[in-house]
């Protein structure tokens, strides 16, 4: 078809005359054609003749039709294509074919194939003759076929995605990113039956979740199956529940309408998730427009729902197994770490113990040998010194072994924590240390009231004994010895604080003093085990011990005593 938007002027060319005679000659044949037929002059894109069929279809009058060459009947979206096809064909005097929608008398557009071809007289074009053939049925079929193919491809893609999903969040991801948009829904929620069999829980990852929660009044992530909701009924009846508009929902679930008021949701589809013939949850789709759920669409949603159900079932199993595996792995790691710590600790322990136990043993070995000579030579002074050495050596050995036993048991006693007054323990220790306190003239200051703590009794005694024992021994090297015991409450832990006015411990040595056999003063009578015991007990019971400088000048130890149950 050749058309022009401009009003045609009256033709006056030579070709026109020829064309008119041709028209008159052929008219009866053209009128009888089952297609639309039109004729256009060779030199300008306007139509001077339409056959009866054309008028019948368009419902236009002759004047109207010839005024714009029938352009008004072409669908606006297709008009440009038709004009350009015809113009190109005219340029090269070649036949053309183009598909376009044409409006019928009833206002409905149908697809036509428009063909135009030049008619020659010799090598001269004398006219353009065209036909419009109704191809609406086949065109629609083709469109439908294409749409069906596209849908199928999409379904295949979604199916493939759903069969490869591993975790529940993978499944909800596919649901939200693929299924919801594909079904033209605005949001969706997957809900799974809780283990109690009484509730349905929305999967948190199934998004639009927050969005829904904010717009949907009364939205709950867990609902009881007894509630009068579409999701519950869908689950219980194991069949889709569909509302194409709000008014249809109002009839069955009047109370939902209030909830939906400001949600923008117009239509809802709820489908049961069925895996291995057993309902496991529901798939909920919300539409912001009234929607017609044709049978194919319902069938499609049902198919997707069953795929999702299987995927979720699989993912649940997978997630559970993975969780279990993770728990196991963590436990193994913890144990391994603990064992490594124990092993390192043990190695260090054995090494230092073998060394430090040998020291007194060595002295005894030397002393024993020399004692013979001294006696033989009747050197009384040496004999006394050596005998004394044996006594202290044996005592020291004994003390070492006892301390090591304490250490090995530290924090590991089967003793249960009991409620005891911290002050009582402090007083018991002080009375034991009384001889040293007297000899050295130590001033011990302590508060009048003490808190109760829950702790294994002998272990608490060990901590206090070691800290106070050190404090009494090392206080006041230059001035008159002074020891302060106090307690504070920090983050619901009781902190026992022991400090003195001795020489103090240099910052670089502060970590070291907690090591086994670490002694700042090698000549001191301590075994070097005490602080290691304190540290170990405190840490084993979830507390700890810290060392810093005291305002009194010496060292300050702070032991955290958590409440044990």
């Amino acid at each position: 078809m050749t058309i022009s938007h401009t009003r045609s002027k009256l033709p006056s060319s030579e070709g026109e005359g020829l064309l008119q005679s041709l028209l008159i000659e052929q008219q009866s044949a053209l009128e009888a054609m089952p297609h639309h037929v039109w004729i256009s002059p060779p030199d300008e894109p306007r139509i001077i003749y339409f056959n009866r069929r054309w008028y019948e279809y368009t419902g236009l009058g002759k004047r109207e039709a010839l005024r714009d060459s029938g352009a008004s009947t072409i669908h606006p979206d297709d008009l440009e294509l038709v004009i350009s096809s015809s113009a190109t064909a005219r340029l090269f005097s070649r036949a053309y074919s183009v598909d376009a929608r044409m409006r019928g008398r009833n206002g409905v557009y149908r697809w036509f194939r428009i063909r135009g071809a030049p008619t020659f007289s010799g090598d001269k074009v004398i006219a353009w003759v065209g036909t419009n053939t109704d191809i609406d049925e086949s065109r629609k079929m083709r469109d439908e076929l294409e749409a069906a193919h596209a849908r199928l491809a999409r379904v295949q893609a979604i199916t493939a995605l759903l069969t490869t999903t591993l975790t529940i969040s993978d499944v909800t991801g596919v649901f939200l990113d693929e299924v919801v948009p594909f079904l033209n829904a605005q949001s969706g929620i997957l809900g799974l039956l809780e283990p109690d069999g009484q509730h349905i829980r929305a999967l948190e990852q199934s998004g639009g979740f927050e969005a829904i929660a904010t717009v949907l009044k009364g939205f709950k992530s867990v609902i009881s199956l007894e509630e009068p909701r579409p999701s519950c009924d869908c689950f219980k009846l194991t069949k889709p529940i569909l509302f194409e508009s709000r008014s249809s929902m109002k009839r069955e679930y009047p109370m939902m309408i209030e909830d939906l008021k400001h949600s923008g949701i117009q239509a809802v589809a709820v489908l049961p998730l069925i895996s291995e013939a057993r309902p496991i949850g529901v798939m909920n789709l919300n539409f912001d427009h009234a929607t017609v759920f044709e049978p194919e669409r319902i069938e499609f949603m049902t198919t997707i729902a069953s795929l999702i159900a299987q995927a979720l079932d699989r993912a649940r199993l997978y997630d559970a197994q993975r969780e279990q595996a993770e728990v196991l792995e963590r436990r193994v790691q913890e144990r391994t770490h603990e064992l490594e710590l124990h092993k390192e600790e043990l190695e260090a322990f054995v090494y230092t113990v073998s060394h430090d136990l040998r020291a007194p043993l060595h002295k005894l070995s030397m002393t024993g040998g020399l004692l013979n000579n001294a006696i033989a030579a009747n050197q009384k002074e040496d004999v006394n010194w050596l005998v004394e050495g044996i006594e202290t050596g044996v005592r020291r050995m004994d003390q070492l072994i006892r301390d090591l036993l304490h250490l090995s048991r530290a924090g590991r006693t089967p003793e249960d924590p009991v409620l005891i007054n911290l002050g009582e323990t402090v007083e018991r220790v002080l009375s034991e240390l009384e001889p040293t306190i007297q000899t050295r003239g130590v001033l011990v200051q302590r508060p009048e009231s003490w808190p109760n703590v829950t702790y294994p009794q002998t272990e608490l005694y060990q901590i206090v004994l070691n800290l106070l024992g050190n404090a009494v021994r090392f206080s006041g090297q230059t001035s008159s010895p002074e020891v302060q015991v106090a307690w504070t409450l920090e983050d619901s832990n009781i902190v026992l604080c022991v400090e003195e006015n001795g020489a103090g411990i240099p910052e670089t040595q502060r970590d070291k003093v907690f090591e086994l056999f670490a002694k700042l003063d090698p000549s001191s009578s301590g075994t070097g085990v005490g602080l290691a015991i304190v540290k170990r007990i405190a840490e084993r019971h979830g507390g700890g011990v810290e060392l810093d400088g005291s305002p009194l000048g010496g060292a300050r130890f702070r032991v955290r005593i958590p409440h044990l149950n």
């Binding site: 073998s354 040998r358 070995s365 030397m366 002393t367 040998g369």
Partner: protein, 129 residues
């Protein structure tokens, strides 16, 4: 001439025990209580034999003292016996690497110490002769 022996140990008790062991014999005895003091003494008296405790607090342990003595030409003839509570092979290797001639693993008896000291000083005499 009496062999000169330097006793190095941080514990006075142990120095005294060694001294009691060696004093009946014909030795000239010197003492030091830490690594630095030991080097000072060694440079001053040029001992024939050093009895060197390995585990000493302070800036230098026995191995370091031993290695330093070995680097000084004046002190090269000195025999060094390490006294150590660490009898593991790697401890001994460290001792010989630092240049010690011999070692005694604690605990040892006065007789064991005296035997080793005699052996070392006899070697000295033989060499000196």
């Amino acid at each position: 001439m009496k062999p000169k022996i330097l006793i190095v140990d941080d514990q006075p008790d142990l120095r005294k025990l060694v001294r009691l062991t060696l004093s009946p014999s014909n030795f000239e005895l010197y003492e030091a209580s830490d690594g630095l003091q030991a080097l000072d003494q060694a440079r001053a008296v040029k001992p024939d034999l050093v009895l060197l405790d390995v585990m000493m607090p302070g800036e230098m342990n026995g191995y370091q003292v031993c290695a330093t003595i070995r680097q000084e030409t004046e002190l090269q003839h000195a025999q060094i016996i390490l006294l150590t509570a660490r009898g593991q092979q790697n401890d001994l290797d460290a001792g010989f690497e630092s240049g010690a001639n011999n070692y005694l693993v604690k605990p040892f008896s006065p007789t064991q110490l005296l035997d080793l000291v005699y052996r070392c000083t006899r070697q000295l005499e033989a060499r000196g002769a």
